[in-house]
Symmetry: C2
Subunit: 507 residues, 2 copies
Amino acid sequence: MRDDWATFGADLHLDLRGTRLRAGLMDALRDAVRSGRLAPGTRLPSSRQLAADLGVARNTVADAYAELVAEGWLTARQGSGTRVARRAAPRPVPGAEAEAAAGTGEGGTSPVPPASPAGPTPGGSAWRVARRWTSPPAYDLRSGTPDLASFPRAAWLKAYRRALTAAPNEALGYGDPRGRQELRTALAEYLARARGVHARPERIVICSGFAHGLMLIARALRGRGARAVGVESYGLGPHAGLLRDAGLATPPLPFDERGTRVEELTPLSPDAVLLTAAHQFPLGGALPPDRRTAVVDWARATGGHVLEDDYDGEFRYDRQPVGALQGLDPERVVYLGTASKSLAPGLRLAWMVLPESLVDEVVAAKGAVVDWMCGTPDQLAFADFLATGAHDRHVRAMRLRYRHRRDQLVAALADRAPGIRVGGIAAGLHAVLSLPPGTEAAALRSAAWHGLAVQGLGHFRHPQARRTLEGLVVGYGTPPDSAWQGALRALCRVLEGVDTARPPEDA
Amino acid sequence: MRDDWATFGADLHLDLRGTRLRAGLMDALRDAVRSGRLAPGTRLPSSRQLAADLGVARNTVADAYAELVAEGWLTARQGSGTRVARRAAPRPVPGAEAEAAAGTGEGGTSPVPPASPAGPTPGGSAWRVARRWTSPPAYDLRSGTPDLASFPRAAWLKAYRRALTAAPNEALGYGDPRGRQELRTALAEYLARARGVHARPERIVICSGFAHGLMLIARALRGRGARAVGVESYGLGPHAGLLRDAGLATPPLPFDERGTRVEELTPLSPDAVLLTAAHQFPLGGALPPDRRTAVVDWARATGGHVLEDDYDGEFRYDRQPVGALQGLDPERVVYLGTASKSLAPGLRLAWMVLPESLVDEVVAAKGAVVDWMCGTPDQLAFADFLATGAHDRHVRAMRLRYRHRRDQLVAALADRAPGIRVGGIAAGLHAVLSLPPGTEAAALRSAAWHGLAVQGLGHFRHPQARRTLEGLVVGYGTPPDSAWQGALRALCRVLEGVDTARPPEDA
């Protein structure tokens, strides 16, 4: 009988991805129906049988079946079991099979290798089931993401509801390519108050993440004939890559123990420089006052621009706030900020405060359209979030929480790995653990073995940087509370294995 | 006394923009404080006095004062009146004054000139007050925007709440550059069912509007060495502009009464062709079946691609649904769809269904980052909106509403301007009113005089198109219900003035 699962089996391959079992199972079944691999009328195995094959709870399968029945993919009738609905199946997309087999999955950037596929299970079913995990690492201390479990969902929903309810109809249409006036106004007030930024709503352009803003600036500068943008010796490679994509060279600036040597801008003579002035990423220092002045003086003298990446300016612990460099000269500094660290990257909310002379060119680089922007409801929700003080409350709460984690990190390392120097801890969501020369690679291998995802300084080194540091960049803001202690223990185990007899490289 | 409003006045200029008086007044006062034009401690005029000066209700001013006190910009004390708070005012941004005076406002694209500024009021205060309006046109029949007043706010809020409440934490982080799996899965199901698209979630890329998707495709094709993309003789100039920005030529394809002459692709030999096959924009026809087949055959024979802009495929009235061209060959047709017409442009939600061979190149063109995308909460809300049937309900309701408007348009024209031929009415949100040669410009002038914003066919003509048509493109979906009848009357008045003695150009 062609449609009986017990004989049909050989062709089925369920490709379960991610950690959400039921959703993954539903996706896999939908895929199988959609591609025609499960023909209409085909009887599926019982939930008990499939659960055994897949090694998952029976309820997971039963729930997935029930939802797929509700969605119309499957039918369930007493005595007849669960079957693929007899609906007009779309023609299979050529190549679908190959694609499914290749397992184009999420999370391909995980530095920890996925657990190997379980392969056909010994359950005895004729279904050939491959359970393929691209499982996340047990612990994630990679930098760059805040604690997503602490996203203030209830407060955000309130702001969203208020904002969408109050929004004029035209807010839902096409609009100003700079973004909603309400948000630009709220940001101007917030940035002046919290970061010392001299902002007028007219000079603010909402963009869809820092990288988007950087690309727009890069295009505008290139359009003026710029040829090079100096970057920090340690930083995010993809940012330099975006600049190069725009046709700009990205020479690295040397650094010393006080941070980036901005005095070398003069011999290097780039058209602009990209700096994380308030909290160097990843090394962690703040650019000292004399260098802040010097880089602005350089920009004034040469007509250059400073691109200020103020990615985590909200989070400061031990020291007085370091205001934005932009306050020193709003006509020579482009300020770039984001909600990706203070709230969540998923919102795709970022902003630029531009010198007057660059506004039109950046809007032109944007294509003068409203595309490349998060939706207006989210923009209005963020404006409400800022204006009602919800943002301040969230940032204060997160600052306490991150500070507490940082203190725990420092204490644990002092106890378990006293030879490791911890740097860059006055602010932000990450610390740098300096390692002796020649030990970073082994530490990273050990981390992977312990199920700990973490990045080494080598990951952030400009290929032409003159100096090499070794160390681990620990994003202590990343894990949810439930995983934090485990992550810390794993990190300590990794560091206990590092030979600290050799003195660490200067940092 | 320096800080008394009665003597201080001469320097103040309140630039009220837009229709929301209180918000505009608050913006203006914040601007004045921020720029230093209102010094700390300055006493403001009474709400009664300022209301009289501005010609607004006293409560509007009182409310604005109260909110600015709450925000910390102003202070209010009994007996001392309302004053500018003594807070550290940021250094004025150079050029701020000039900018405020120039009145960089919203809505600069309005084809109807704004009402003239009211100028200084005769109130007799020493404050120099300029009330500057950039008023929208009385009636808006420009195409391209759905009825924003009908956006299903309550249903959308429900979907957003459900989606954000149920979302796993990782959904708030960085993620797949193609967009959320949940949305791509829901879209694949919806597009197969509603538009006959052969879609798998793996081939769908969420983008931030049609233009964004087109730019990504253009870059991917250019990266393969493509040099030209054929476009329709009548279409959206900015779309062709995006292609040219990517380094591609955009030769226009000739057309006849049956639509775009795709047989001319062979002599023209572009690398791809951009088509609005289901509902030509703006002329309104559907590409006939033989030409649908022919264009796909051309793509197969030459290795070319069809870029299918399915901007309003949800709205069909008289005829059988015209499925997506993509269903004929998912490997040669790139399908581009958007929620901008079915829901609202402000959501910035659009999608591409790509041939397998283009997925990697498009993701690479996107920079392989999650930037350039609307936020994940909105993506998840849209997935929920699709999966729960809320989208179907909304589209059905809007289809009835738009159809009703279309019927009213046709009836009114038959009655008041029987000489005008109405075309392109079987689907979509717009109609084309053919005009005799030489009358379009006068009709547009008449429309402006009647307070009616509407576009002529000339607005959409490719500069190298071989033929010229004249007519009005009437976006009957655009106005809210409250303005629809007035807009229709204004349109009829315009058309009554057109000399229809001359036969219209062939269309």
